[in-house]
């Protein structure tokens, strides 16, 4: 009797487990298929978009009238950025596929620049036509390769989940058809140089600006330690460690870590090897109350800059986050603000000490400048503005424009409706170089 009961109970248990396992398995499969379908859609979308892109570039080549060329180039721009976004949905980040993405984004910015230009006044020149032709050829190569991969995927029922798995585990990824295909595409694009876009083209990649303009002799580890000590006003009983940067750094630097024995907090600092300039400082400690105002913090920041021989700085932006002030200072020369030369500082509002410092922008753009004479007057510049904007403040400033060049501008702060705008008008030719809508404070959502 007991035996029968036991057998019964056990078999019910086994049947239950089997059923549960089956359900789990089905659910897992459903999710896997769902993920796989997402990848498949992105992949087939990509090949389709590259098809369209290739054709569209071809059409622009054949066009002659300016009226149809501008919209066609705008279409190239749209397709390129769409394809770029689609690539980001494929699990390729562990695969070297950057060049292709960069290529897509460069096609985008090239066609964008040409599309927004007044082609009646400034038609595409011979060089730009050559660029378009090369883009056409290159996109044909990419199209061919992708078509090939697509064919194999469809024929052999290849799954992207396997690609992801292979890439994640480094499980002989060379055997994978999809990965191979994409590697070929990448290799193809690599042979295509950025310089082929013509001399006027500047990649939208914000050039990782190096510190070319700074001078001075190379410093040693020991000197870096000394610089940190004087810059941070250390007492001398701190534990200081200095490490040299790796070979991948565009400009060699020392990383200094300082442990404060009393507070147990840490300060981190990077110093350039050449010249021994502080690049940035962060001190990590809690700041729980406010004793000084943002205004007082600004004064202390300016004083600190002067003490350490950063001259001619004035406040550009000040913002308070809880009990910390974040300040941006820029240099001014003969009444002209030089926005590329900026230094950021964080000041704790409990004791007014500097807990953050960043001079990366300043170091990469600092140099002797001769400020040119403006060719148009401020009245003329004012006329270039949208008449609906009420001008509140104005001054002269040097900024980096879209083409990565420094230009002298008239800067206007104005309001339109409830918003405030910063507008830069080029002081040589009156072009509206930049219009920024300035950030308003953001309301806190769903909280009382």
């Amino acid at each position: 009797m007991l035996r029968i009961l036991l057998i019964g109970a056990l078999s019910i248990g086994i049947a239950g487990t089997a059923y549960w396992g089956y359900r789990e398995h089905q659910q897992k499969n459903a999710i896997l298929i769902h993920a796989e379908n997402n990848y498949q859609r992105a992949f087939h979308d990509l090949t389709y978009q590259i098809d369209l892109l290739h054709d569209q570039i071809g059409t622009t080549l054949a066009m002659n009238s300016r009226q149809s060329l501008s919209p066609a180039l705008a279409e190239v721009w749209r397709l390129a950025s769409e394809a770029h976004a689609t690539v980001g949905q494929l699990p390729l980040s562990l695969l070297p596929f950057n060049k292709t993405e960069e290529f897509l984004s460069n096609i985008g910015s090239f066609s964008y620049r040409a599309a927004i230009r007044d082609l009646d006044k400034q038609p595409l020149n011979a060089e730009e036509y050559k660029t378009l032709q090369q883009l056409y050829k290159k996109s044909a190569d990419i199209q061919q390769e992708l078509r090939n991969v697509q064919h194999l995927v469809l024929e052999n029922n290849l799954r992207w989940m396997d690609v992801e798995l292979a890439l994640a585990t480094n499980n002989r990824p060379n055997d994978n058809t999809i990965i191979d295909g994409f590697k070929t595409v990448e290799k193809n694009v690599q042979s295509y140089n950025e310089t082929d876009f013509g001399p006027s083209f500047t990649s939208i990649e914000k050039r990782t600006k190096g510190f070319e303009h700074i001078s001075g002799k190379k410093i040693t580890k020991e000197e870096a330690k000394q610089i940190a000590k004087t810059f941070l006003g250390l007492k001398g009983n701190e534990d200081i460690q200095v490490v040299h940067s790796g070979e991948g750094a565009s400009d060699a630097f020392y990383s200094v870590t300082i442990k404060h024995p009393k507070t147990k907090s840490e300060t981190y600092m990077d110093i350039t090897e050449k010249g021994g300039y502080p690049i940035w400082v962060i001190e990590n400690r809690p700041v729980n109350k406010q004793n000084i105002s943002l205004n007082e913090a600004t004064m202390r920041g300016l004083q600190f800059l002067k003490q350490h021989k950063f001259n001619n700085f004035e406040l550009y932006e000040s913002t308070q986050y809880d009990h910390v002030a974040v300040l941006t200072f820029v240099t001014a020369q003969d009444g002209v603000r030089i926005y590329p030369e900026s230094i950021k500082m964080k000041i704790a509002l409990d004791d007014g000490n500097i807990i953050g410092f960043s001079a990366r922008d300043y170091l990469s753009s600092k140099r002797e400048r001769k400020i040119p004479k403006p060719s148009i007057s401020i009245e003329q510049a004012r006329k270039k503005m949208n008449p609906n904007v009420a001008i509140m403040e104005e001054r002269k400033a040097i900024i980096m424009n879209n083409m990565n060049q420094e230009v002298l501008c008239y800067e206007f702060l104005g309001t339109l409706g409830d918003d405030t705008y910063r507008i830069f008008i080029n002081a040589q030719n009156g072009i509206e170089e930049k219009v920024e809508k300035l950030q308003n404070p953001e309301p806190i959502y769903g909280e009382i």
Partner: protein, 277 residues
């Protein structure tokens, strides 16, 4: 009905009496937050210079309102609320502090114009769950009224929202919560460097959710609740600090399974992570 209104109005005018001087000694400047800013906005609104929300953050609208006030009252126009400006402002306007604080705390939509009965300047919050209603009642008592209230808005770095910050804090927490603070700032900086690079997507979400880009996304650790440290680290990165020196990749040499990542030029090591180009 009318009687009831008058009654209400009387109660309001009794409980919200104007206070003579409450500004602290500080010079208030654009970007500041806190009690003084609330008072500044309320007083500027009383005089009709400021038409925005009283939210306790000294933004651009408050700035222009203050400058208009200084211009009209023949003060030097500098956009700073210093000693003389504050004195003139206090003399010219009234400030119903408990009225403002009560409404801020309840999240009501309200204004603080002079010459209009206060009771007509409030629109109560529509959706109120039971919990919040009781909480509001609790804070309604007199002694709580003087306590510090949280502002109704916050400063955010240019071009990013609180939700972007939250999403990035999630990613940083999932990826680097055991790392030193500076390592967390560096991970946040890598996300930003990728947004700026043409080889990667152009949005916070695009970069974070790129398949295979971050292990924390793949294994779901991104949905752990981030702590205050990772939030702070993200803010530092958004404000322009980049301890990674322009890195686009990082990896943990002990757990990295992908051989390719070793071929990237390395910049520096922070904590357990190697950062590379």
């Amino acid at each position: 009905m009318r009687k009831w209104f008058i009654c209400l109005f009387l109660i309001f005018s009794f409980s919200y009496t104007s206070q003579a001087h409450a500004f602290s000694k500080q010079v208030i400047q654009r970007g500041a937050v806190g009690d003084d800013v609330i008072e500044l906005q309320a007083r500027l609104q009383y005089l009709g210079f400021y038409r925005g929300k009283i939210d306790g953050v000294f933004g651009w609208r408050t700035y222009w309102a203050l400058r208009k006030f200084q211009y009209k009252f023949k003060l030097p126009v500098d956009g700073l609320a210093g000693e003389t400006t504050k004195q003139k402002l206090v003399r010219a306007s009234k400030y119903y502090k408990s009225f403002v604080y009560n409404n801020l705390r309840k999240g009501n939509t309200f204004t603080h114009y002079g010459g209009v009965p206060l009771s007509k300047q409030v629109k109560a919050r529509q959706t109120k769950t039971k919990n919040q209603a009781t909480a509001a009642k609790a804070t309604n008592t007199k002694q709580m009224a003087v306590k510090r209230v949280k502002s109704a808005a916050v400063n955010v770095p240019n071009g990013f929202s609180q939700n972007d910050i939250q999403l990035m804090a999630n990613a940083v927490h999932g990826e680097a919560r055991g790392e030193p603070y500076i390592g967390q700032v560096a991970v946040a900086a890598v996300i930003l460097n990728r947004i700026n690079s043409p080889s990667f997507p152009n949005t916070v979400a695009g970069v974070i959710f790129e398949p295979g880009a971050f292990t924390a996304v793949a294994d779901g650790q991104i949905w752990l609740t981030p702590n205050e440290t990772s939030r702070k680290a993200v803010l530092d990165a958004l404000n322009g600090w980049d301890p990674s020196s322009g890195a686009l990749y990082y990896f943990n040499p002990h757990t990295a399974t992908n051989g390719w990542i070793w071929s990237r030029p390395q910049i520096k090591k922070i904590g357990k992570h190697i950062f590379c180009k």
